[in-house]
Symmetry: C2
Subunit: 419 residues, 2 copies
């Protein structure tokens, strides 16, 4: 087992940077072997990990951590096994490094190739979800990057146990264990150092609440990818098929309400109001509370009054905002005002309206006659998901392993000079 | 001619955002037509532009602006014609928007496509170079984006004349002229608003001095692409061909010393010292002053003593730092310490050393037996250059039109829900 001797956040980032140079040059088979070793080490350390997690949970109870947060923090034996299994899935993915993306001959004979390369060091800031500790470390290593993890003090003991297991596994297979670093011990000051470590952190990924992401985006001077927050809309157009409207809205809200691709607001074209009573019944059967405007409330006494705040709210619960719009223009205007640019869907039989919606809505994913729940790395066939980018720089929508690489231009000449 | 009525920087950014929605949906031919109209308008307004520029130059003289800066600011009739001609070149480039980058079927029948889309609004912060005003506006429009320009108060009158001509041209061809905005009039406060306009500016590109770029990168909360600064290295390995070493180093330093891809430091393997006297002669013939370490100075009395500061300096002049290294490891360590990750080249006949250099040096462009001057959008065949990215997120190295686009996932289903 590796002893951690570096006692400053910046010192650990420097170690990650150095280790990253070696990790970036590893071949496919070695990186895969490292990940299988990590999975085995997590399985082997399951008892220690669960015991460390019990410590964190105890402290959570003493500090009044909400039950929902404690559930996300909790690791029992089956959850630890699932973590290890997810690492094996990442190990089996193709190497995203070294892909030749373009070749051309320039300058009268220089052979120029554009190849994918690792970023170097990926930083992650997240809240008390120990699964992110393992997920991000595995994805970073698979793509040839070192990683610096800042998972929050509520999960400090769990994260320390997971990181110790992962570092031990790297050591065993002959890879510098400094490629995986945790800076949980350095509190808020450590997080601040991570966000401003220009030259040491090549990419910072925040995962968690809208507030955490906002803080990271506004306070960071290192490159950041904004992920996650989803005030997701479905438009039920005048010509929507009632059965598809019902099935898609119920699926998008109720199948898993706590995730970012769940729908939060349904906009109903005035001419489609006839299908709403059935839709409200189906939503009620699924346990959903609808927050509606006047026109929706007139259709059912079970609809609660929507407030202005509802339109901007990511409920992440079995709550759904619903309002009537006069036409597609009004729906697009509402989406422009309230969307977080994650996913929006339209249910319509009118192809022209569908195409207009797909062209004009400025979101990572735009769908026609499909549930918003499909915006997901697994569903898109990526094999793994780093997060869902809601920004437009570098990556947009579900991010897989290739999004954890940058590029490099390599030119091979024979004494070429520019004329 | 369009009247500018909006009197706040933020108001102008809002107008750009709205106009950007329309510009993003324009087809290829319309965008090309708009650019040809802009080129004609610049030609047509040449007298006004030169007169406005004379105002800026007069003020520059009064305020003691250095002659080098005044030269960059100066627009005479031939330079105005060259600006218009560059816009016509951009008009002739292929549309980077609407490319289908990937297609796949997911969820048992949803047709998913990944297409290139405009960013929306591109911001640019630069110093008194009026050519950037036209270049960036043309590149942004060609890629379906609106643009907000902040070119500095020293060029305010020139930029205003250029922007007026460009906006007038948009109006003529029926495109919302608010797609081109200047916020020079709002001074430093306007620049600060631009850097923090989350939700209004989708991408900010700084162009100019290392200090300007550092300020923009550290103070911005909107996504930024870091461009430009180049402390560029050439390594002359033990087995380097003397003629190639001489030709490449002279070309890389002297062909155009003021640009970011010009070499700043040459690292000479101790076993290649024999070729240095000839190299020093050739550099002297080209007017270059060499700043050398002890071993280099021992070879010629014309070499001045290098200071520690030299290794970190982007001279941008006919000055060149030169030092001897014991081996390739020492050269790589020097580059790790001082490189700005722009371009480095190795001159060697040893293929293993070349491949190690190309793999290990962490720069946008890495070259073997070729001049560093090739790292350029034009040389790479991009047809136009937005800048040279020295970061790893989104774009790295020369950026062409495709780098001014993001992507969107479009899914077309038939009532698909997630199971």
């Amino acid at each position: 087992m590796t002893i951690v001797t570096e006692t400053s956040a910046r010192g650990r980032m420097r170690l990650a940077k150095e280790a990253g140079r070696g990790v970036g040059l590893l071949d496919d088979a070695t990186k895969a072997r490292a990940l299988y070793a990590i999975a085995d080490a997590i399985d082997g350390a399951a008892d220690e990990i669960v015991a460390a997690n019990a410590e964190d949970l105890d402290r959570g109870v003493r500090h009044g951590l909400a039950e929902g947060l404690r559930d996300r923090l909790r690791l029992d034996a089956p959850r630890v096994a699932a973590l290890a299994s997810a690492v094996r899935d990442v190990a089996a993915l193709p190497d995203p490094v070294g892909r030749v993306l373009e070749t051309r001959t320039i300058g009268g004979g220089i052979e120029l190739t554009k190849v994918s390369v690792p970023f170097g060091v990926i930083g992650a800031i997240y809240e008390a979800r120990p699964n992110v500790t393992v997920d991000i470390a595995a994805l970073a290593l698979r793509s040839g990057n070192a990683v610096v993890l800042r998972g929050g003090t509520a999960a400090e003991a769990t994260n320390a146990a997971l990181v110790a297991a992962m570092r031990g596994a790297l050591d065993e297979v002959g890879i510098d264990p400094e490629a995986i670093q945790t800076i949980d011990a350095f509190g808020r000051e450590g997080a601040r150092e991570l966000m401003t470590a220009r030259g040491l952190i090549d990419l910072l990924v925040p995962r968690g609440s809208a507030q955490l992401i906002e803080t990271v985006v506004t306070e960071s001077t290192v490159p950041v990818i904004e992920t996650g927050a989803g005030v997701v809309h479905i438009v039920i157009d005048a010509s929507a098929r009632p059965d598809w409207a019902r099935e898609i809205v119920v699926n998008a809200k109720a199948q898993r309400p706590s995730v970012c691709n769940a729908v939060e607001t349904v906009l109903v074209h005035r001419d489609a109001l006839g299908l709403v009573p059935d839709l409200l019944d189906a939503l009620e059967d699924a346990g959903v509370t609808v927050h509606g405007d006047e026109a929706i409330r007139a259709l059912s006494p079970r609809v609660v009054a929507a407030t202005d705040e509802d339109w901007a709210t990511e409920h992440l619960s079995l709550d759904l905002s619903m309002r009537v719009v006069d036409d597609l223009d009004a729906a697009l205007a509402h989406i422009r005002t309230y969307s977080t640019h994650h996913t929006e869907s339209i249910i319509t039989e009118d192809v022209a309206n569908a195409e207009r919606f797909l062209a004009e809505v400025d979101s990572a994913a735009v769908l026609h006659n499909a549930s918003t729940r499909f915006t997901d790395g697994g569903e898109f066939g990526f094999g793994a998901e780093v997060g869902i980018s809601t920004q437009k720089l570098h990556a947009r929508g579900p991010m897989g392993l290739p999004e954890l690489t940058s590029i490099k231009w390599i030119g091979r000449g024979a004494g070429h000079v520019r004329s």
